[in-house]
């Protein structure tokens, strides 16, 4: 390391009082880094970038979010529909959470593979685990904030974990809730903590990097740098390599944001929280699934420890055991490159975690229970039996004398892992009814990378909603003014609004009065309240349709199939209660909504022939627009962003090759 020198007087003046320039030169420019780091070493800086994006998007989301149980769900939809680029901020944040965990999991498994937790990097490793724990807490509380069904029931289940502890358990849970169930106080404190914890993570990251710079990076060979010939300065070699990695990563991340923004989400979370009804299949977010599987693996009471407590203890132990890893792994050799046996067990352990994740995302039924138990046992055996023994019996390969030979691997491998990890999040996406879903002839116009809404279809769809659906169903999140976006003129919008009356007031005499709705009003519901809607529909509440296309698995295809899936009479062996209809696609087949979609139930203003398939396709298109009004803007922006990122990443790649060509 050279002494910091500058000819600039201002720089020297500052440097004498706050040695910030020498610190930057020392730790970000000259910092000696092993010359043989492969692309798996990119994930630390990627995670840091992701943390910054999360804090930034989160900050601007918080400016528009209301942490109150009666406002939270609608305020999130307000962000999605009315706030400028609100949909972008929210989808960046929601998908960012998943990306953050993917990056950190890869980062952790890289550490496991190359033995980065071994002396002298134990504290570096501990701080990393602390970051992981803080991330889990932050992610969990963030998922509660939209106050959908999964938010509410996730919060209920996870806080109830603490009830497993004897004596104090129930008190802890009441304390966490601030009441006798998950309710407004819970939401308020979760929001406050969700805002705080990311900054705690920033602090931990600073300590993590401090520890790293003290002991220096591990490397694929797992041997220490022995002299200047083994290292290169961090800048420009690793700054450019990290930037190139960021370019590639942004393309993967933003592909989800712009084309599959709800891929990692659960449709149930587009249903507002309802403390009276638990969704039939609740799952945590994908990144907790392996631990969720461990939690559920314990089903028998043992001595004085009930199964519930065993599961909770095992789940916490599964993470805490990582703290003991530097001593459980008794091998002196770090990198799996030179540990032929450990390398096999590493991949087995990774596979075990993936299977646990898969099991955690499925209902606890049949063989899966046993598979989960076996995998849980293996998880702990890996740490408690295999690793201690391996160090004793394994014949490691000879370590090279120095690391000056370069080892560079393809970035494509990283993307493969991303896709693979993403793959097992597709849990529970299949249609539970069993029958394959119907698709309209030619598909829906908005599907696919370049698909957009078709305005004539949307206008016909609105007519179906207006003439038929709106007799029973509300659509509270959509305003009449929004109809201008699908091609209605300002006067038509005014007329649609003026058909309905809304209550306003009080006037100067203090009386409430009815006035015609205005374009700025949201769609006026057909019934005064939920009870009235239930009473008028034989006890069944017609659900609000604002988010229907996002609130069911395969939303648009499900609704399309449902509308066309009626039978006049229930088939043999499928008795249907009085007052219900038989539908092939409705869970349980007995649906309260009668068959309404039939040929010619509407007379289209544009003269299109109103076959029932046409009607179903049109109204589903309209429903999808109601749920995702930003879709056209989202995909257009996505295309431009991808073209831009392609160019930037290509430039970064060329620059990286230019900078590195003398090192290789």
């Amino acid at each position: 390391m050279s002494e910091f020198k500058s000819n600039n007087k201002v720089v020297n003046w500052i440097e004498d009082r706050l040695p910030i320039f020498s610190m930057m030169q020392h730790s970000a420019i000259e910092y000696p880094t092993p010359r043989n780091l492969n692309y798996w070493w990119n994930f630390g800086s990627l995670a840091a970038v992701m943390l910054i994006i999360m804090i930034l998007t989160g900050l601007f989301l918080a400016m528009n979010y209301a942490a109150n149980t009666s406002l939270a769900f609608d305020s999130v939809e307000h962000i999605m529909r009315d706030v400028n680029y609100g949909w972008l901020l929210r989808y960046l944040h929601a998908n960012g959470a998943s990306m953050f965990f993917i990056l950190v999991y890869i980062h952790i498994f890289r550490g496991l593979y190359y033995g980065s937790y071994k002396s002298p990097r134990e504290i570096l490793w501990f701080v990393g685990i602390a970051i992981f724990l803080a991330m889990m807490a932050t992610g969990f509380m963030g998922y509660v904030l939209p106050w959908g069904q999964m938010s509410f029931w996730g919060a209920t289940v996870i806080t109830n974990l603490f009830s497993a502890f004897p004596v104090v358990g129930d008190y802890i849970v009441t304390l966490l809730w601030g009441g006798f169930s998950v309710d407004n106080p819970t939401l308020n404190r979760f929001f406050a903590l969700h805002f705080l914890l990311p900054f705690v993570i920033v602090g931990l990251v600073v300590i993590h990097v401090w520890a790293l710079h003290t002991v220096k990076s591990n490397n694929p060979l797992g041997i220490e740098m022995k002299g200047p010939q083994d290292s290169i300065p961090f800048h420009p070699y690793y700054t450019i390599k990290d930037l190139y990695g960021i370019g590639l990563f942004m393309m993967v991340y933003l592909a989800f944001v712009f084309w599959a923004p709800n891929f990692f989400g659960e449709p149930d979370n587009y249903i507002p929280a309802n403390p009276m009804v638990t969704p039939t299949h609740i799952v945590p977010e994908w990144y907790y699934l392996p631990f969720y599987a461990i939690l559920r693996a314990f089903t028998m009471d043992l001595w004085i420890i009930p199964a519930k407590l065993q599961g909770v203890l095992a789940m916490f132990s599964a993470i805490l055991i990582l703290f003991a890893l530097p001593w459980l792994d008794t091998s002196k050799v770090r990198s799996a490159k030179f540990r032929p046996l450990y390398r096999q067990f590493f991949w087995l352990f990774l596979a075990d975690c993936l299977v646990l994740g898969y099991v955690g995302g499925k209902p606890a039924e049949g063989n899966l229970v046993m598979i989960g138990q076996i995998c849980t046992a293996y998880y702990f055996a890996h740490f408690l039996v295999i690793l201690p023994l391996l160090g004793k019996i394994e014949k490691t390969k000879a370590l090279p004398a120095s690391i000056s030979q370069p080892v560079i691997k393809a970035a494509a491998l990283g993307i493969m892992i991303l896709v693979g990890l993403a793959g097992f999040t597709g849990q529970a996406q299949a249609n539970e009814g069993g029958e394959p879903l119907k698709t309209p002839e030619g598909g829906f116009s908005w599907e696919g990378v370049f698909g957009r809404y078709d305005k004539p279809t949307l206008k016909r769809g609105y007519q179906v909603f207006h003439d038929v659906c709106s007799a029973c169903h509300s659509m509270k999140l959509v305003a009449y003014r929004n109809l201008a976006e699908i091609g209605f003129t300002a006067d038509e919008v005014k007329d649609f609004a003026a058909e309905k009356e809304v209550q306003d007031g009080p006037n100067d005499e203090g009386a409430m009065y009815a006035r015609p709705a205005r374009p700025s009003d949201r769609f006026v519901p057909p019934f005064a309240n939920e009870k009235a809607a239930q009473a008028a529909n034989g006890g069944a509440l017609p659900p609000d349709l604002s988010l229907m296309a996002k609130a069911r698995n395969h939303g648009p295809h499900y609704v399309y199939s449902l509308l066309l899936g009626y039978e006049d009479a229930a088939p043999e062996g499928h008795p249907i209660p009085e007052g219900k209809s038989f539908n092939h696609y409705f869970p349980g087949n007995a649906i309260s909504m009668p068959m309404v979609v039939n040929d010619d139930i509407v007379a289209y203003a544009d003269g299109t022939k109103a076959s029932k398939e046409q009607i179903a396709k049109d109204v589903v298109t309209f429903l999808n627009w109601a749920a995702e009004p930003e879709l056209d803007a989202r995909k257009s922006m996505g295309t431009s962003v991808m073209v831009f990122l392609g160019l930037l990443t290509a430039l970064l790649f060329a620059l990286k090759r230019q900078i590195w060509k003398d090192v290789h």
């Binding site: 930034l56 998007t57 601007f60 400016m63 528009n64 307000h78 529909r81 009315d82 706030v83 400028n84 680029y85 609100g86 972008l88 901020l89 300065p233 800048h235 420009p236 700054t239 930037l243 305003a479 003014r481 100067d508 205005r518 374009p519 700025s520 831009f644 990122l645 160019l647 930037l648 430039l651 970064l652 060329a654 620059l655 230019q658 900078i659 060509k661 003398d662």
Partner: protein, 184 residues
């Protein structure tokens, strides 16, 4: 950054040019991209679509007698609707426009001389001037008086004395019938 690699391994002049070009091109593209990416964040702080849509207020003016005022809310701000007496109209019209700080004829500030409609926010620092209620002080010119820093407005809402730089603003409005006004 160029220096270090250069010192470590002398490259050809050609390679150096190529590298400089790549460095500048990449930096330019990166900086432009980052700049554009910041716009959605900034724009998210501008008024949302539902806020913009709530930009009209209907006022029933049938019950307002000459000399009376009402205050209504438009875009979260008070709007003064005053039905002026003939004397007030005369006073407003006779003021010497050229002597005013913010010269404006009374006829340019009203659609019907009887009805004066103003945004009730002092142009100095945003307080609500007094003068709407009968008991309120109306300042030296019979219009409005801002108690915060002593600005006097006349019966046309024009600044006549005090620190305010401009006349009280006239919002966009139209008479939708003889008895209703739509502001916004």
């Amino acid at each position: 950054m160029a220096d270090q690699a250069h010192n470590a391994q002398p490259s050809s002049v050609d390679g150096q040019t190529r590298r400089d070009f790549l460095l500048y091109a990449t930096t330019a593209v990166g900086v432009v991209g980052t700049g554009i990416a910041l716009w959605p964040f900034v724009h998210s702080m501008n008024p949302a679509a539902d806020t913009l849509a709530l930009s009209t207020t209907d006022v029933d003016i049938s019950a307002i007698k000459p000399g009376q005022s009402v205050t209504v809310v438009w875009r979260g701000k008070p709007v003064f609707v005053r039905r002026r007496t003939p004397e007030e109209i005369a006073a407003a019209e006779q003021a010497n426009v050229s002597e005013l700080r913010d010269p404006q004829k009374d006829s340019d500030r009203v659609k019907k001389a009887e009805w004066l409609i103003l945004v009730g926010v002092c142009t100095h620092l945003g307080c609500v001037p007094l003068g709407q209620k009968p008991a309120d002080p109306r300042g030296e010119f019979g219009g409005w008086f801002c108690p915060c820093h002593g600005s006097h407005y006349d019966t046309s809402g024009r600044i006549r004395k005090g620190p305010a730089p401009r006349n009280l603003a006239v919002p966009p409005y139209q008479f939708t019938s003889d008895t209703t006004v739509r502001i916004g």
